[in-house]
Amino acid sequence: MKILVAVKRVVDYAVKIRVKPDKTGVDTQNVKMSMNPFCEIALEEALRIKEAGFAKEVVAVSIGPSQCVDTLRTGLAMGADRGIHVEASYSFLPLTIAKILKSLADVENPGLIFLGKQAIDDDCNQTGQMVAALLGWPQATFASKVVLDKDKQSATVDREVDEGLETLSVDLPAVITTDLRLNQPRYATLPNIMKAKSKPIKKMTLEDLKVDIKSDIEIVEVTEPPKRKSGVIVSSVDELIYKLKNEAHVV
């Protein structure tokens, strides 16, 4: 079985970001970028499944500008067998990404597609679900535990939901998105980084995949959240009730 893992290159989580002065987006120039932490978890899970003998190959795919190759190399250094870089000059929204992944899945025929549950730059939490819908495959999102059954060709997935944990069984092929507590991604070792340099990364274009990238969504403006106003100290409970009733209108 082949596992396809989609990884995204995002602004590193520890970096302080700011909005560009022209409000078209976040300033990503000269900013440290890394693999999305949830994508790392997804890749780690795929690698563990391969090491357990359930899969033969782990393929990492990234969609974006040429620097995505660095992200893919990191994935290869962790242990992925090969990488696919889909060249795209700007960042796409989840539906476009899902369409690209669907085209890739049609070509690669994986038994499992792993994604992080969301990217930390846009927090969309949509791509995995859309890929499953486009492919007509079952999906198990927010996975905190994945157990494969080779004979039944299915996966039992614990999902982290608001009420606690939900256990699903999905038939393969399936789409799984990973949540925080699924695993702890491994460090990539220096010898593996060196080996990763010779692992193949296939370059593909949107034309190759015949994907329509027209989006119905347009980003109009990006602004910083409004500055938090300072609180007011009230002198008595009555005053508090008065304020809640007449100023905040919540009582």
């Binding site: 590193d12 520890a14 970096v15 440290k32 932490p37 930390i120 460090y187 220096l190």
Partner: protein, 646 residues
């Protein structure tokens, strides 16, 4: 837009608004409790965590940041806190005894290169590039590896910086046509003497014509790209934690730090032991007060060998601001003296206009100050409120913050930089020209000269000592020699210092038969607290001045918190026995990252808390601790600040 924000603990409960709770949530969900105190007798105090949390979406810190990476999965020995410390202490001895020699030991992988360079800064990268150039010229083939503790090349690089392109012209003569991030020519040299309210213009002792206002972090990134084009292997995200020796006590390389050890010393699930990286020649380019370089200098007595004095240092604290277009004047270079520092404390500030409406602003304070209550960070905040500075910053925003120590010892403190197996280059040896406050060009040149010596040693059978000979016949030596008396003159006070500076600048230019000596070592200069009064610093206004957690957030610094503190106390009792009562805990003031805090323990007694996660890798604590009790060692690779425009 949810982003992870750093957890910067401050017992004075200031901004809790910045927290990374990924690991914390992870731990809470599992059975291990991060708040439990270690039962093992560690010489370190485990930091306590504040339990507030923000966003529920808190991914774990990336194990593999771009492309920071860690080490192999081997090695079997069990790790308890005790055996961890013991094995660390023991292993360097065992190597000296030849137990862990050149051949790879069971469980540790060993990678060999012709030349190994520690540190991808200006000196390290220049040395690497020069080596490959020589290989091309002489049709040789040498493998060159550069290891760098920052997650990215340039991530730990911070400097003023008004760049003198002398060495770069020699190294890469066509840099102007290769999109080097060197674009803003210095257009004016202003020099102000500041009093509390005024800025008195003085004739500038600097002449920066032909120099450029740059971000050194950007330049180093560019140099890194050039180096990779030449086939140099650069591995960011790996910290060199130990020097490796062979049976004859010759340096054969370094060992990278073990990764995945938890705070109490036990191995985590992701544990990887370090890798031995060996070089036929090893060059140390760790920057000012490099942790391994200091060990090497001590071990081989490199200062004694040439009768060099001790090194002296200053702490530089810097911010990059984006200011109002109308106030921006690209190329303008301003230096100040005087306020807010008192006449007995050497230091000054700088304000350089870069491009993109950015200005670099910083305060440099010599670390031989006497008053233990001095707080360089707060002095910097004061500086920003000076009318002449405020005028420029008003309406702007801070983009990045950072701090780093720099050498002030100059000529008198240069050690013999060659040792069996390699050499020390750049600020780790100490080639900064103090009156010019420039060290980049000399660091680069020293790297190039060491590369030439290494090439000779490896390819032509000569000796590494030709590095020393070539240094002494180069412009680096001439420059540092003629600049040698400026800084020591300030030992006598501000006025004598200025007087000597004027004499040197206009008349003498170093052509005197004597060489002034440095005063006490920085850590010895600190006076007892009872001789001084605490300084009342104003509260930050949140617009021009800020508290430490806010500033730290802008340095993008982070470390995986579940690792042993990389700041080691040689004697764990000294902070409470000596630092606090006798010196009023200066480490809680000179550290620009609030790593050191005294908090009350269960019995109400003050105890030192080390917030190692905040560390900016500036090395001030290693330098200034009165009893030299704090030892700065490398944390896991990839941690530390993420400077991009500093």
């Amino acid at each position: 837009m949810k982003k992870m924000k750093a957890l910067f603990r401050s017992s004075s409960s200031s901004s809790l608004s910045f927290t990374i709770m990924h690991r914390f949530l992870l731990k809470l969900s599992s059975s291990t409790n991060p708040l439990r105190n270690s039962k093992n007798q560690l010489p370190l105090i485990l930091p306590r965590f504040l339990s507030s949390t923000t966003a529920s979406e808190s991914p774990p810190p990336p194990r593999t940041s771009h492309p920071s990476n860690r080490f192999i999965s081997r090695s079997g020995h069990p790790y308890s806190a005790d055996s961890f410390r013991k094995s660390q202490a023991f292993s360097s001895k065992s190597r000296a005894l030849g137990v862990r020699c050149i051949s790879s030991e069971a469980g540790r992988e060993s990678i060999e290169y012709d030349v190994l360079i520690i540190g991808a800064g200006p000196a390290g990268l220049s040395a690497a590039i020069r080596l490959k150039q020589l290989c091309q010229e002489k049709n040789a083939d040498l493998s060159v590896c550069v290891v760098e503790k920052g997650a990215e090349v340039g991530g730990h690089v911070i400097s003023g910086n008004v760049f003198e392109p002398l060495a770069l012209d020699e190294l890469l003569p066509h840099w102007r046509q290769e999109q080097a991030p060197i674009e803003v020519a210095a257009s004016s040299d202003k020099f102000w003497f500041l009093t509390k309210n005024r800025a008195i213009s003085l004739p500038s002792p600097f002449d920066n014509k032909g120099n450029y206002v740059i971000s050194l972090s950007q330049l180093v990134r560019w140099l890194g790209g050039k180096a990779e084009e030449l086939g140099i292997e650069i591995y960011p995200g790996f910290s060199a934690s130990e020097v490796l020796y062979d049976a004859s006590d010759k340096v054969v390389g370094i060992a990278t730090k073990d990764m995945g050890i938890s705070k109490d010393g036990s191995k985590k699930e992701t544990f990887q032991p370090g890798v031995d990286i060996k070089g036929r020649v090893t060059l140390f380019a760790e920057g000012c007060r490099g942790s391994l370089s200091e060990k090497i200098i001590k071990k081989y007595k490199l200062r004694e060998e040439v009768n060099a004095q001790h090194q002296t240092y200053a702490l530089g604290i810097k911010e990059v601001w984006e200011i109002d277009e109308s106030k921006h004047n690209p190329g303008e270079v301003v230096h100040t003296l005087g306020w807010p520092l008192d006449p007995k404390t050497y230091g000054g500030s700088f304000l350089y206009h870069m491009n993109n409406r950015q200005v670099a602003l910083g305060l440099v304070v010599a670390l031989n100050y006497k008053n233990p209550f001095l707080n360089p960070y707060e002095e910097f905040q004061k500086l920003k409120h000076h009318p002449a500075i405020k005028r420029i910053l008003e309406g702007g925003t801070v983009l990045q913050y950072g701090a780093r120590t720099l050498n002030e010892g100059g000529f008198q403190s240069i050690p013999y930089p060659v040792f069996p197996g390699g050499a020390i280059i750049g600020c780790s040896a100490g080639f900064l020209n103090v009156p010019k406050i420039k060290g980049t060009h000399t660091a680069m040149k020293s790297g190039m000269l060491a590369a030439e010596a290494a090439f000779g040693a490896l390819h032509e059978g000569s000796n590494m000592s030709t590095y020393w000979d070539n240094l002494r016949s180069s412009w680096v030596w001439k420059e540092l020699y003629s600049a040698r008396n400026y800084r020591p003159a300030f030992e006598y006070g501000l006025i004598p210092g200025l007087a000597v500076s004027a004499m040197e600048h206009y008349v003498l230019r170093g052509k005197v038969p004597f060489t002034l000596k440095h005063g006490k070592a920085d850590h010895e200069a600190t006076d007892l607290a009872r001789k001084w009064k605490p300084i009342e610093y104003p509260k930050p206004d949140g617009v021009l001045s800020f508290d430490v957690p806010t500033s730290l957030y802008r340095s993008n610094t982070n470390h995986d918190h579940d690792q042993p503190s990389h700041l080691r106390l040689r004697d764990p009792k000294i902070p409470e026995k000596v630092n606090l009562p006798e010196y009023a805990a200066p480490e809680s003031r000179y550290c620009p990252a609030r790593v050191y805090e005294y908090v009350e323990d269960e019995e109400g007694k003050p105890k030192l808390q080390i917030n190692a996660q905040n560390c900016l890798h500036c090395k001030a604590c290693d330098i200034k601790d009165p009893k030299q009790n704090i030892e700065w060692t490398v944390p896991e690779g990839g941690g530390g600040p993420a400077y991009s425009i500093m």
